[in-house]
């Protein structure tokens, strides 16, 4: 009797688990998603991977340390450390330094642009518009400041340069009182 009951139970649970495995299947790796959610999505490749998602996959696979992303800065490393339960590390200086202050966006000099479309093709967020042999332009609202379009990709010197976005009431920030106190003490 006991054997029959246990066999039946095993069958019922087996079917239930089998159904659940199909019905509630998770597409993709949820750890990669949550790492990707913390990354700044600049898509600059400074970490040595071709974009934020590949870097997230590499972190999830434990192939690389969490300190490879300069645009994310120290706070980005901290966020990753919190998420993954690891110790925060200082940023890897080989990949570049974290930029302070206002965000940078690319700007194309319309006078010198030759309309080669190289930058249009490389822009990871489709923030550059333009057709062959026509002037190109950057859509500020979408530019992540990845600098992939800068020379040597752009064949014209000084045609594409980085500039900081305008300081307005909306993006102006209060100074850190902690820093103020230190300055006063100094």
């Amino acid at each position: 009797m006991a054997i029959i009951i246990l066999t039946l139970l095993a069958l019922v649970f087996g079917v239930a688990l089998g159904y659940a495995a199909i019905r509630f299947r998770v597409e993709g790796d949820p750890i990669v998603d949550s790492i990707d959610a913390v990354l700044p999505q600049t898509q600059c490749g400074q970490c040595g991977y071709p974009g934020c998602r590949p870097y997230a996959e590499a972190i999830a696979a434990d192939e690389v340390e969490i300190n490879q992303c300069p645009p994310g800065g120290e706070s980005g490393v901290q966020a990753l450390a919190d998420l993954l339960g690891r110790d925060p590390l200082p940023l890897n200086p080989e990949n570049g330094v974290a930029e302070e202050g206002l965000a940078l966006v690319a700007i194309i000099d319309e006078e010198t642009c030759i309309g080669c479309t190289k930058c249009v093709q490389v822009c990871p967020v489709d923030a550059i518009v333009g057709a062959a042999k026509h002037k190109h332009n950057v859509l500020d609202a979408y530019c992540t400041g990845c600098e992939l379009c800068l020379p040597p990709l752009c064949p014209v010197e000084d045609c594409i340069v980085m500039r900081s976005v305008d300081l307005t009431i909306k993006n102006w920030k209060w100074s850190n009182p902690e820093v103020n106190a230190e300055e006063r003490a100094a």
Binding site: D36, L39, P40, Q41, T42, Q43, G51, C52, R53, S75, P124, V125, D126, A127, Y142, T144, L167, T168, I169, N171, W172, K173, W174, S175, N176, P177, E178, N180, A181, R184, A185
Partner: protein, 512 residues
């Protein structure tokens, strides 16, 4: 005397009000008027004049179609000389778009402006349109476009007219109530037509007995003159505690009601307007004049002749300082607004805007410099906070930039009144920490939103590239198959016709 309630917290502050509490003086017309296009909450107005245009006083120079916005009018007659970025009154000293007018000294009103003897006969919608077109915004400091406030989506029980003026030093609302009590009451009677409240309360702090008496006398006078609707108006003296003048605090004191978190007063059936705004409504509806000037206090230990002035909007601060006899020494700091909630100005060239109720010329921070000591967790700040927050918790999390914790402790509810900083025995500049944390949190949120946008755009681009590659491969495969089919067919018919097949192929390739 009806019952009054109390809000939690608040502080009693020395007033320094007698310093500036003079008759209202007229500030001279400056040579150049600078009118920022954003003097209100919401969208900036767009200029409708061009450089070189002659403008009358009260002529529209910038307007906006957005609901939450307000038009800007020339505050004196003259010529538009520039439409460009000028430093505006803001903590940062940032420059924003302004219309600069060189005045002609005639101060000639726009001839199109006509007085209206019976504005009470206008429909509610007409009144709202006129209030909007007059560029009236909340003059208590929040500069919310008044017309938007006067169109509540539910019925209103109480109209609160705020004459509390709880900040130390400032006396311009007091001066207004003493010089124009009847205009204020008549303004309230017009607002009644718009909102149909059960009652109207004019709230004044008990440190302004003269203003209270004058307003009450006016009520009696109007009643005797047969204006029956003044019966619904009460003048209420409220205890002098900072920040009773805060909208949410005043509503609590007068009605015992609490405005819901992230909510607006109309949700509890209340609309609250400043006395200055009420007088501006009176001007707009009776005389047709837009908001081109305001009363402003110039005071502080470092100014020669503190006084209240009627100032044209757009007058540079330095001109007003000169009108008040100039500063006493170079060791001064300029603050626009009061000592508690005002902002320090980086230079005196910035113009007076609709929100400017006071220029406080303080003694330079060098002498007041205090070194902050560590927080001792005494909890005095929590007892003083009028918004029921825990400043000491917010302080720790602001230092650590822990944004989710800051949200948990309701940082966004902080009204930056400064009570916590004043009572802190360790002299920690708590409000500075909260302002810092607010802008940091804002930046964090904007960045997160931008990252989401970039992620989607990257995914879409990758999907597109993938699709293009697949399509190319499919085309290639199809071409190959076609070629093989043709080859097979041709070889069946005529093995010798190689040249024909070659031309076909080359045609296909050039077409592809």
């Amino acid at each position: 005397m009806k019952k009054l309630w109390r809000f939690k917290g608040g502080v009693k502050l020395p007033g320094f009000k007698s310093l500036s509490n003079t008759e209202v003086k007229q500030a001279p017309i400056p040579e150049k008027i600078i009118l920022p296009l954003r003097q209100h909450i919401g969208e900036a107005a767009e200029p409708i004049v061009a450089v070189g245009d002659k403008v009358y006083k009260g002529q529209l120079v910038a307007t906006s179609h957005s609901f939450i916005s307000a038009p800007i009018h020339a505050s004196s007659s003259g010529t538009v000389v520039d439409i460009n970025k000028y430093s505006i009154p803001h903590q940062s000293g940032i420059s924003e778009m302004c219309v600069a007018i060189k005045t002609d000294g005639v101060d000639e009103w726009d001839p199109m402006i006509e007085p209206n003897v019976h504005p009470e006969l206008l429909s509610a919608d007409e009144m709202r349109v006129r209030i909007r077109e007059a560029g009236i915004v909340g003059l208590g400091g929040a500069v919310f476009p008044s017309a938007a406030k006067l169109k509540p989506t539910r019925s209103i029980d109480t109209l609160v007219i705020n004459g509390v003026e709880c900040e130390p030093y400032i006396t311009c609302d007091d001066a207004l109530m003493r010089s124009r009590p009847e205009d204020i009451i008549r303004g309230i009677l017009l607002l009644r037509k718009l909102l149909n409240p059960v009652e109207c309360i004019v709230a004044v702090e008990d440190n302004k007995p003269e203003a209270i008496a004058l307003l009450q006398d006016t009520l009696v006078k109007l009643k005797d003159a047969g204006v029956g609707s003044v019966n619904t108006i009460r003048v209420v003296s409220v205890p002098t505690v900072f920040p009773t003048g805060g909208e949410k605090q005043l509503i609590k004191v007068l009605t015992g009601k609490e405005v819901p978190q992230h909510g607006l007063p109309y949700e509890v059936g209340i609309v609250c307007l400043n006395v200055g705004t009420t007088a501006a409504v009176y001007d707009a509806l009776y005389s047709g004049k837009p908001l081109v000037s305001r009363l402003m206090t110039v005071t502080g230990p470092q100014i020669k002749n503190p006084a209240n002035f009627e100032v044209l909007i757009g007058t540079p601060v330095e001109n007003i300082l000169a009108a008040a006899g100039g500063v006493i020494s170079d060791k001064h700091t300029l603050i626009m607004g009061g000592p508690m909630m005002g902002m320090s100005l980086l230079n005196a060239k910035v113009p007076v805007v609709k929100a400017s109720n006071c220029i406080l010329v303080e003694t330079s921070a060098e002498q007041l410099k205090s070194t902050a000591m560590p927080c001792i967790r005494c909890g005095t700040c929590a007892a003083a906070c009028p918004m029921n927050l825990l400043p000491q918790q917010l302080y720790w999390h602001a230092r650590g930039k822990e944004f989710d914790k800051l949200a948990h402790y309701n940082l966004s509810d902080c009204i930056e009144c400064g009570c916590c900083s004043v009572v802190c025995p360790s002299k920690i500049p708590l409000v500075h920490y909260f302002r810092f944390a607010k802008t940091e949190k804002m930046e964090h949120e904007v960045k997160a939103k931008f990252a989401d946008q970039s992620r989607v755009r990257t995914q879409v681009r990758e999907a597109r590239l993938e699709r293009i590659t697949q399509e190319q491969e499919a085309r290639k495969a199809k071409r190959k198959a076609d070629r093989q089919k043709k080859k097979a067919a041709k070889s069946d018919v005529n093995i010798g016709a190689v040249t024909d097949t070659d031309t076909d192929l080359s045609k296909q390739i050039s077409a592809g």
